[in-house]
Assembly symmetry: none
Homo-oligomer: 214 residues x 4
Amino acid sequence: MTDTPHRRGADRTEAIMRTTLELGQKIGYARLSMEAVAAHAGASKQTIYRRWSSKGALLLDSLLSLNEPGLDYPDTGDLVADLRAQIHAAVDLLAGPAFGPLFKALVGEAQHDPQVAAALNERLIAPQADKTVARLKAARDQGQLSPGFDLALAMAILSGPLYFQLLITQEQLTHEYVDRILDALFAGMRPRPPMPAAQAGPPPTPGPHRRARG
Amino acid sequence: MTDTPHRRGADRTEAIMRTTLELGQKIGYARLSMEAVAAHAGASKQTIYRRWSSKGALLLDSLLSLNEPGLDYPDTGDLVADLRAQIHAAVDLLAGPAFGPLFKALVGEAQHDPQVAAALNERLIAPQADKTVARLKAARDQGQLSPGFDLALAMAILSGPLYFQLLITQEQLTHEYVDRILDALFAGMRPRPPMPAAQAGPPPTPGPHRRARG
Amino acid sequence: MTDTPHRRGADRTEAIMRTTLELGQKIGYARLSMEAVAAHAGASKQTIYRRWSSKGALLLDSLLSLNEPGLDYPDTGDLVADLRAQIHAAVDLLAGPAFGPLFKALVGEAQHDPQVAAALNERLIAPQADKTVARLKAARDQGQLSPGFDLALAMAILSGPLYFQLLITQEQLTHEYVDRILDALFAGMRPRPPMPAAQAGPPPTPGPHRRARG
Amino acid sequence: MTDTPHRRGADRTEAIMRTTLELGQKIGYARLSMEAVAAHAGASKQTIYRRWSSKGALLLDSLLSLNEPGLDYPDTGDLVADLRAQIHAAVDLLAGPAFGPLFKALVGEAQHDPQVAAALNERLIAPQADKTVARLKAARDQGQLSPGFDLALAMAILSGPLYFQLLITQEQLTHEYVDRILDALFAGMRPRPPMPAAQAGPPPTPGPHRRARG
DNA sequence: AACTAATCGAGACGGTACGTCCAGTCTTGGA
DNA sequence: TCCAAGACTGGACGTACCGTCTCGATTAGTT
């Protein structure tokens, strides 16, 4: 029988997360209450609290349920192209209509809930960062980057401006913006064995969307 | 008469903001309620709502009242040293015990309150960013940076990693971390007319605290 | 000059009472606040509190300002006809759209404000009752009522059922109801020198609207 | 298990009504707030509002909980004696220290809350009035009253003066006053086949407490 | 087939805070 | 000197959720 009024276990878990996403998208994740999720999911509050200790925990699980596979890095041999492809994909997700508001709400929760902050890092941020670091490491191993290159620092430098744009200035995150950052950074990051010296800022190397502003 | 029990206007404004800071520091800004601020400030809720439309607005004004003068940039002629000095100061503030938790709470609010987000940008982020941009512009005007150098982008690249550390990974923000970022970036940003060619990543030029990690 | 923005004394008093009546009629006397009266009258709250110590006091004065002359008794020699005429007039006022709601609100206030209760009695109830008593006394003096007739008691018996209808059952007060009460009462109250014996209840004497119900 | 900290339903209902009575008696029903009842009853406001939509509704239920059985009429065969007994009992209740202030407050509420007015009539006034009417009807059926006697009207005439005294003049309601009214009225109401003719007003027949005043 | 244990929805409960309204007092500045 | 305008504290309003807690009904997995 599949039409029993309330089924058990995983059934309920999934229904609650789906309701969280739908309702959050409709009314905003800030206005979303455990009460409302319970009512709309046809679940009791007890059932929700059995599984998630806070709204943040529920949001995080709901968000992760959207993106089980994660974003994978290509390795075409061209580091900059690979990073660009991956960051474009990440930006499409983070700044997209489904994921974006939820992610921002989650970061908001993380600012006053250490448990959410920790879980957010462990389950969403770190896995993605690890992939970037792995790709950079491959490049370093192949001599495309100097041996002393600080991979984690590079990752932070690549990611930071995006989060700044997303969380602080709250302007739209575009591929063009990503490209400008990559162009600016790789003038400095790239080793320059043959070339005389890469120009700083927007380097002469033509990026697809590069345009100076300052 | 100056000793009336409640003098008007500015008096109450200041008392409420002071209470917000004290109480927020004691119990945490997330647990801080308008109700509690009113009670501890000896003010009525009406008086608070007359001035601030939301907790976020109150937090922002309270935070700004801590830092009326703002941080000013030196201009010693040495761009990197000047940026380092200013960013150290900014980090001391942002990651310090008084300002830090409040600022994080405010960014949290900004994630679900567009008014707070806008005010945060206009009144806290932009003024500071403008100073960085001005210092960079002076350097560019003096030929220390290439003419096409994108000042706003550079500002985002300099700031981004710090906010990433503060808001996402929530690790401690140290001077040493700032130095590593500056070292890594300025290998690429700096124009290199005289120098042979700065190596990317952690450049060979010894920065004060540089240490590889990846 | 008559168009100064705020004139003094009696001017203000009258404006405030007029506003009380208008606003009370529009939104109901229960929902009427001192605040609203002040705002609509273009007066400050201070000015209102200077003249009236409570909403009840203001209501009472406003009500009395409607009815300065009061209701006067005719004395045509026919007691029952005179009482009927006067009570009809009183009922028209008390149950009318202008006076009625205000009077009911005032009685409501009187139930928890002894000052209002006292003022209501002294300034509204007693003066009217006195006229009824005076008319009854004239009748007694002329031998139309027995010498031991208790005038005040008769007044209470005549009035009581009307207030019961107005305040408790809240049904419509009609002339017909007044007549039925008078008919029933005067079968007992009237002395019967010549007649053999007046029938009790609805007496046989034809009243204009008499009709049995029980 | 019967000792759970808060058992359900009726428990809370009763505790809240008891608190309403106690607190109302102590501080006055006008000054009684839902807030205070909740606090003193150890209940949340929600719990109160779940059961009663307004202070008036709560007052009415609390009052009725004082008087579950109601007042019953004797039928000794002597109509006047029975009415007197019953009205004495009613007056003892209405003008007594427990019931009186509460009843007056309730009538006050009824003046601006039609729901309270309706409930007051249905649940308190009408049941009692019905008993009076029933007793009068028995008397009429036995020929003690004329066949055309209007029972409902008589009830209003009997009750009205008491409510007038209680609500308007706010003087003390005594058995003596009740007796004077009954004496005055029954001179007219009573059929007088055998008797010579009852005098109106205070009839010559000596009632137990009769005394002229006018 | 009946029993047991787990799980569910429903929703009552004490609480805390919300944002609003009004009471009654006080201050300021203009007429 | 009187006024309007309106700021101020304080208290209550009625509502929304929180997280905890019964309560029966339903279901699975034993016996």
